[in-house]
Amino acid sequence: MSGVTTTTQQRSTDPSAALVERIAAEALNPGYAQRAGARQPSGHRRAGAVLTVVMLALVGLLVSVLVVSARQGAASVDSERSSLVALAQEAQAEVAASTDRAAALEAEVTALRADALGSQAVGRDQAAQIESRAIAAGPLPVVGPGVRVVVNDAEQTLDSGDPALSRVLDIDLQQVVNGLWESGAEAVDINGQRVGALTAIRSVQDVILVNYNAVVAPYVVSAIGDPRSLPTDFLRSSGGAWLQAVSLSADIRFTIDSVTDDIEMPGEPAGVLRYAVPVSGDEEGSR
């Protein structure tokens, strides 16, 4: 090799470069040079040549097998990904179709019930009862006058104490909602999230979830009820007392306004009942 003299000079200065140079210097198997002197011209020459060809074929085989398998691996990863994407899209479409179907069936049920119950006086009573229960339970969208309670975090965190306490907590909203029910509200909603029979109001980290949807300050708690009596009844209720207490202790801001215009509320998102089933007609009759 031509670079042998420079190699010896670098060897003393930089060990890693010396290592590389040594590997490069012995790149050609030294066995070739050794055997070159003591060449046996005859004997197993033929066998050696055949073995050489076999080995070369093996090299080619190894290389092509590696290339083929590497390509197949990449292709299978690709196809796996795309099939997963397709599965997810399929499932999404199925969910959308099922939701549409559920809405259509629910409309059908409502229409059939109206048909069945509307013909007789008793039936009409029952229909009205069902509707009022549905409103109270939360699944039906409603409008009506009422009261609007706006609760907001303190403007400044208190110098002393936990900064988390100067924010509105889930218990504050729970107390407000309970106070509103207590003072005669017929339907309650927080920032567009209807509070129904299965609604939970709770914090996860620093975020308040209503119906498992995050709501942020300012929290507008609307209630449908008598717009004249509801505000004063609420102030006197446990919810009103709670709000006054936290506004004194933690500077939580709140306003209470009666609303004579219609407040629109969406229905509560349909919860999934896993354990509760309707009582069947037979069991009801036997009691």
Partner: protein
């Protein structure tokens, strides 16, 4: 000429036969191929320098492939498989480049 034909035959066979690698051997196939390429380039350079010897080639080829695979396999068992594979690839890579450069000088004179 015949050795080159053997190489081509191996490539064609590998593509045509659709050989499936056993999963246990799959991680070591790239290392084996690099080792085989090293032996191949060494043989090519030796041929050009007129010192080629089939016994040396066969022995270096087999020992290269087997040794590289065993080293990486052992490394895997000891939890340093990736590092040892890198070491083997660096060493063999330097040798492959050096031999390729030597062949280039011999063939093209540059």
């Amino acid at each position: 000429m015949i050795p080159v034909l053997g190489l081509l035959a191996g490539i064609v066979l590998g593509v045509a036969l659709d050989v499936s690698v056993p999963p246990a051997f799959e991680p070591y196939l790239p290392i084996a191929v690099i080792a085989a390429l090293d032996a191949l380039l060494g043989a090519g350079r030796a041929t050009l320098e007129g010192v080629f010897d089939d016994r040396v080639f066969v022995v270096s080829f087999v020992s290269n492939v087997v040794l590289a695979t065993i080293i990486v396999f052992l490394g895997d068992q000891l939890g340093v498989g990736a590092q040892l594979a890198t070491a083997v690839i660096v060493v063999l890579g330097i040798r492959i480049f050096t031999n390729a450069a030597a062949m280039r000088r011999l063939l093209l004179g540059a």
